[in-house]
């Protein structure tokens, strides 16, 4: 990969180009219309072409102009933080708000390098109680305290 002199430009360009091409392809199903009566495909196609063009420029530039390397991706925190969020979505109806919040805090807090059990458990408990009181009782968000897996 020594030819790529600016990896940030390269990958960003690739993403732009990919999304641009994809968006253009999908927009082919939408009627283009005429300039007088712009169809639903008109503006998206213009934007998709523009994005593809910008992606191309970035790609070409990445071979010409040197730039910094991309820093290491922090996979562990990314995985744990995003995973905890998705897990919350999966659990919230079945297990209920209280349990899913507890899991959300516990899993996400594990992403920190300074993770310790005691303060985290206290935090999870505190946040759960607070959220149940404020969001469930106070603001009346339609979520069960205990989910359908426990209550019939």
């Amino acid at each position: 990969m020594a030819v790529i002199r600016n990896p940030k430009d390269f990958w960003a360009g690739l993403i732009y180009l990919g999304i641009g091409l994809g968006a253009f392809h999908l927009a082919q199903d939408y009627e283009m219309g005429t300039a007088v009566r712009m169809g639903p495909g008109y503006f998206p196609k213009v934007l998709a072409s523009l994005l593809g063009l910008i992606g191309l420029i970035a790609l070409v530039r990445s071979f010409l102009r040197p730039g910094e390397a991309i820093g290491r991706l922090a996979w562990r925190p990314a995985f744990l933080v995003l995973g905890a969020t998705v897990l919350f979505g999966l659990l919230v109806r079945g297990a209920g708000l209280a349990l899913s919040l507890f899991v959300l805090v516990l899993v996400s807090a594990y992403a920190s390098r300074q993770f310790r059990w005691r303060p985290t458990l206290l935090l999870a408990l505190g946040l759960t109680v607070f959220s149940v009181l404020v969001f469930l009782k106070g603001l009346g968000i339609p979520l069960p305290l205990l989910g359908s897996w426990f209550v019939r």
């Binding site: 993403i15 503006f43 995003l82 979505g89 109806r93 996400s108 946040l127």
Partner: protein, 502 residues
């Protein structure tokens, strides 16, 4: 003049109800809180709170959200001065001299200077807003669809020019945002676009989901990347009031900072951050105490603190009068207005005078609250700094998750938010800022509609954009702005303006 007074009276009438005073207080207190806590910015906070404000009357909602934004500018300076940790990006330059002052035992003086400068700037900016908003809105009433389209192009381009970082990537992010704004059912034909046959996407992506993902979750991962143990060494606060000699030194920098900040705040892409950076570099060049800068010069605190508060407030001018956001916070405000059923634009002032003037009046009241919150209660905020990030970010996640769920009561939005969190993190690694994308996302559907109408009126002739004088002027300005960035001399100044950040 009489009209102005009558308008302000209406504004204070609206803002001075007990409910609105309470929301104003809640807003500025929350703003101070997130300003003090590093790693939590106004964009993520406002996005988190938006679902809560849906049920409020529009005036109260906007008063609170506005308070969060300018309140954050106050809070950010506290941590910058006391622990050298800028809570907000706009306070980065305050840390340079403010922390040095604190180390020399002048923490109290630095804090008081920041508060006095901010309050003065806030008062002036509120007044400017009241004076300049009506004529601007009157002028904007003459705008047709072509003018609006060009104005939005100018706004988006200017936001790129005045921001820092790669120009190409910023434009790329704008276009990506515009494209994301196309998702959902097309209002004219009823055709679902980019919905991937998912009924959940029929109404497009909620901008709250996008903002929370990119700014909330993405930021958390970014912060965890280089997590460090924060020193809990907090400078002792003593001797709050500046002396007479100090007042003489800070008077001119506060005036200059206010002027510069107010001006830069109006420009698209401006706002608090740019204002603070610019004010500091100007002051460093022309101050008689230039040699002291970086070693604890009181001017180095007064100027940027006045500027960031002035800029935060005048950035409401284009939002309230034209319906054009100049920064991501204003983009969220526009989203909040739309959700409340108010079409942003020059009509807001005539159709909803109580809302318009109420917000303006609340800003001055909010600034007063902030002085009270920040000077006597400083000890409380200082204690909050010691909250470690490892306890803070799970709490942010909890609010994001519940907030996003409550918009439509469905899990789908939570997954979507996680996806945008990943995207936000990856783009951040590639030096692609999420702010232009949010601006594009909000403006996308409006731009399409204005373009459609402009072309319909002109019978499909695209030159309508350059034959109508106002529209042509705005497009010309956009082109000039773009070329300016490419000119080496200007590019150097642009980079210099942000160099203190490193």
């Amino acid at each position: 003049m009489m009209e102005l007074l009558a308008n302000l009276a209406l504004g204070f009438d609206t803002a001075f109800t007990l409910t609105n005073l309470l929301y104003c207080l809640a807003g500025v207190a929350l703003g101070t809180l997130i300003g003090v806590l590093p790693g939590l910015g106004p964009v993520a906070t406002i996005a988190m709170l938006l679902p809560v404000t849906f049920g409020l009357p529009p005036v109260s909602a906007l008063i609170m959200l506005a308070g969060i934004y300018y309140g954050a500018q106050y809070g950010g300076s506290t941590t910058a001065i006391l622990v050298n940790l800028p809570g907000e990006t706009s306070s980065v330059v305050t840390a340079l001299d403010g922390y040095q002052m604190a180390r020399q035992g002048h923490a109290g003086k630095a804090l008081a200077t920041a508060a006095i400068g901010s309050f003065f700037a806030g008062t002036v900016a509120t007044f400017l807003l009241a004076v300049f908003a009506p004529p601007l809105a009157d002028f904007a009433l003459k705008f047709g669809p072509a003018e609006y389209f060009s104005l939005m192009v100018l706004g988006l381009i200017a936001s790129v020019v005045l921001a820092h970082g790669s120009l190409l990537h910023a434009i790329g992010m704008i276009v990506l945002g515009l494209l994301l704004g196309m998702m959902g059912t097309d209002i004219n034909s009823g055709l679902p676009r980019y919905t991937f046959d998912l009924p959940e996407l029929a109404d497009g992506i909620s901008f709250v989901v996008l903002a929370m993902g990119m700014f909330g979750l993405g930021e958390i991962i970014r912060n965890l990347e280089h997590e460090e143990v924060r020193s809990a060494l907090v400078a002792k606060v003593s001797g709050l009031m500046p002396s007479k000699a100090d007042f003489k030194r800070i008077a001119a920098p506060i005036l200059r900072g206010t002027g510069l900040g107010a001006l830069l705040g109006i420009l698209p892409g401006g706002g608090a951050i740019l204002a603070a950076f610019a004010a500091y570099s100007v002051e460093k060049k022309i101050s008689p105490n230039a040699a002291q800068f970086g070693k604890g010069a009181i001017e180095g605190v007064a100027a940027p603190e006045s500027a960031n508060n002035a800029g935060a407030q005048t950035s409401f001018i284009p939002m309230l009068t034209l319906g054009i956001p100049s920064n991501p916070v204003m983009a969220l405000m526009i989203g909040a207005l739309i959700i409340q059923g108010i079409q942003p634009g020059p009509m807001v002032m005539t159709d909803q005078p109580a809302l318009f003037w109420g917000i303006i009046a609340s800003m001055w009241i909010g600034n007063l609250f902030l002085v009270i919150l920040n000077l006597p209660l400083i000890g409380l905020w200082v204690r909050l700094i010691t909250i470690p990030y490892r306890l803070l970010y799970p709490a942010i996640l909890v609010f994001c998750a519940i907030g996003v769920f409550s918009i439509n009561n469905r899990e789908f939005d939570i997954y979507l938010m996680a996806l945008f969190g990943l995207l936000g993190y990856i783009f951040a690694k590639l030096d692609c800022e999420p702010a232009p994308m949010l601006l594009g996302f909000i403006l996308g559907p409006m731009m399409e509609e204005y373009l459609r109408r402009a072309l319909l009126i002109s019978r499909g002739d695209p030159t309508v954009l350059i034959t109508r004088p106002i529209s042509a002027t705005m497009l010309a300005l956009a082109v000039v702005a773009l070329f300016l960035v490419l000119v080496p001399a200007f590019r150097k100044t642009r980079e210099e303006a942000f160099q203190e950040e490193d």
